[in-house]
């Protein structure tokens, strides 16, 4: 039974529609990866699910977000506040600036438990120390009394994760949790998240631009481009037989077994800006297989075996 179901999500900022037609669902204990280049709309999807769009001046224009039976697009402010942090936790991208620099670590994490679980300060502190321990932060009690600027990036990210977990949520949304970290630390955090999902039966939506991360941890994946989902399915299937040319190109970009002088693969061209989404299939200017129909008509999603893709060649109407 899916705990989170996104159907046909469309988002607008004033007259601009950066996101449209996003569909996916996720169960507890599953990890769903959303992958795409910068500007593909991944973060916007995360913000929509958390109901934080109005903060940036955006609004949901179409579709529904179903969480455990509730349609989030129709939620009141009060209900949202219970949900955020309480049942869905957010892990943000840049740990260096995500914590309040003026407050000690302890109170920042305690706040969540006090707010959502009705704990007293002492109880919340116990819980905080416990969580910090499970996240393998050394000296949890001492850490509670430190300030964010006294900690490293990796540590800060763990604290952000702690804040997301404190109220025993059912789902976690991780928006590029490792992008701003060193490679070694990245691996640790990814493993940590993986652990959490399995041990606590969480649903994790992992947003990243790194295909290798997807390969390591996710069960399902949604590939996004220019504000649209263009392919999705189980990770194994997508990696073995990607159907959309973009997905194929992305996988082709993962460096492996390169000889010293070999060049890295790249996708020609650049990601279109929100103002300039191409007509028809958004990828067609950069697609090596583009046909005439690709520049005029938006391809619909069509199933191919276990996955589905939005490509005219997959649908079968390209000549």
């Amino acid at each position: 039974m899916s705990i989170l179901e996104v159907r046909d999500l469309g988002v607008a900022f004033g007259p601009i529609h950066p996101l449209s037609g996003v569909n996916f669902s996720i169960k507890k204990g599953e990890t769903l990866g959303i992958v795409g280049e910068s500007g593909s709309g991944k973060s916007l999807t995360a913000m929509s699910i958390m109901g934080l769009l109005p903060l940036f001046g955006g609004r949901i224009t179409s579709g529904s977000i179903n969480f455990d039976g509730q349609d989030l697009t129709k939620l009141t402010d009060r209900a949202w506040r219970k949900l955020r942090g309480g049942r869905i936790g957010l892990i943000t991208q840049n740990p260096m600036t995500s914590l309040n620099p003026l407050q000690k670590i302890g109170p920042q994490v305690d706040e969540v438990a006090i707010l959502h679980l009705g704990m007293s300060r002492a109880q919340a502190r116990t819980r905080t120390v416990e969580i910090l321990g499970t996240l393998r932060i050394p000296e949890p009690e001492a850490t509670c009394n430190r300030y964010p600027h006294q900690m490293s990036g990796g540590m800060k990210q763990r604290i952000v994760i702690a804040m997301a977990l404190a109220a025993k949520p059912d789902a976690l949304i991780a928006d590029e949790p490792t992008t701003a970290l060193d490679v070694t630390v990245q691996a640790q955090i990814i493993r940590l998240l993986d652990d959490l999902v399995k041990k606590r039966d969480l649903a994790l939506v992992l947003i990243t631009h790194d295909m290798s991360v997807i390969a390591q941890t996710c069960d399902k994946v949604v590939v996004m481009y220019a504000g649209r989902a263009i392919e999705q399915g189980p990770v194994a299937t997508i990696f073995e037989s990607p159907h959309h040319p973009y997905t194929q190109a992305l996988i082709g970009c993962i460096p492996h077994g390169l000889a010293e002088n070999e060049r890295l693969n790249r996708i020609k061209g650049t990601v279109p800006t929100v103002m300039n989404y191409p007509k028809g299939c958004p990828f067609h200017p950069r697609c090596p297989r583009a046909a005439t129909i690709c520049s005029t008509t938006q391809p619909q999603f069509a199933s191919v075996g276990e996955s589905s893709a939005a490509c005219h060649f997959v649908i079968g109407d390209a000549s």
């Binding site: 955020r84 309040n100 003026l102 706040e111 600027h149």
Partner: protein, 309 residues
């Protein structure tokens, strides 16, 4: 950590204080004529002159004199006023409370009102307000303080008769002086508060605060305001000196007792012991105020405490 910072800042004050006290000490020597003529009344007896010479060591080298002078000052002996023939220390003790009251009230008034106005304008998010503030600040910093004071007297005391024209008899007498000093300050504090709040609101960690499920009001009061207070405290600390300057003028215009009017009267009367004494006290007040401001900043922002600047 905080103690170390305070101590460090305090240490830095010492060379500053010494330099300033030296400058003030030198006043009597930079003036034309014999220093002793500036410290004593015209037509004093030779014995009185001798006594003074002995007391201040006026026949000894300059540096020794400075130390003697400083020694006296530190013991609370500021010399005797020429015109009023009383110990300067007495005059200062008499006038200091008035200045402190006026300065303190003006500071509190402009800070509190400024912060409230600034917060309101940030929440309400009105671009017209921004222009209004800029105009207000412009007026506050370009209108000579004493002129404003006199206009206020003209309007509120003479025409409307609401407040007394001068003196320090009642609390009503404080209203116009405090308003005059605070006038320019309110707009500045409000503007800084508003800008700081709007800036902080855009910071990264605010996103996470909303994600935690906190209400807008909780975020504002528990997280945003403390953050916004940082630049505000900086500005307030800087304004302590400014308020003091304003107090000097306002005391004079409203005929209130205080260090400021004491100083100005002494200057016109060339009563140099009084001049030196009150200058020293005022300089001290500025330095103390700045120090308190610095410490307050460090207390609020843990990052500042680590800097050695």
């Amino acid at each position: 950590m905080l103690l170390k910072y305070t101590f460090h800042r305090f240490l830095m004050l010492i060379p500053v204080s010494i330099s300033i006290s030296f400058v003030i000490f030198m006043i009597v020597y930079l003036l034309p004529g014999d220093p002793i003529d500036n410290l004593i009344r015209v037509g004093s007896s030779p014995e009185a002159r001798e006594r003074l010479t002995a007391k201040y060591g006026l026949d000894k080298p300059l540096l020794t004199q400075y130390f003697v002078w400083m020694g006296n000052m530190l013991r609370g002996d500021f010399g005797d006023a020429i015109v009023l023939r009383r110990p300067v220390a007495d005059l200062i003790k008499q006038n200091l409370p008035y200045s402190l009251t006026l300065g303190g009230l003006a500071f509190a008034f402009s800070s509190v009102v400024g912060i409230i106005l600034g917060t309101i304008s940030a929440i309400v998010k009105n671009p017209i307000m921004e222009r209004f503030f800029r105009g207000f600040i412009l007026l506050g910093s370009t209108v000579p303080g004493f002129w404003l004071a006199l206009l206020m007297i003209l309007l509120f005391s003479v025409t409307l008769g609401w407040f007394p024209v001068s003196g320090a008899g009642s609390w009503q007498a404080l209203v116009l002086p405090v308003l005059t000093i605070g006038f320019g300050g309110i707009a500045l504090v409000a503007r800084v508060t508003r800008v700081a709040l709007l800036d902080v609101w855009r910071a990264d960690f605010v996103k996470l605060l909303y994600a935690k499920g906190l209400s807008g009001r909780a975020i504002l009061f528990k997280h945003l305001l403390p953050h916004a207070m940082l630049p505000v405290v900086t500005i307030l600390a800087l304004r302590i000196g400014w308020i003091l300057g304003g107090a000097i003028t306002v005391e004079f215009v409203f005929g209130r007792p205080g260090l400021g009017s004491l100083l100005i009267r002494a200057l016109s009367q060339r009563d140099y012991p009084v001049v030196q004494g009150s200058l020293l006290m005022l300089a001290l007040a500025v330095m103390l105020g700045t120090l308190i401001g610095d410490i307050a900043q460090a207390a609020m922002d843990p990052r500042v405490r680590e800097e050695k600047s």
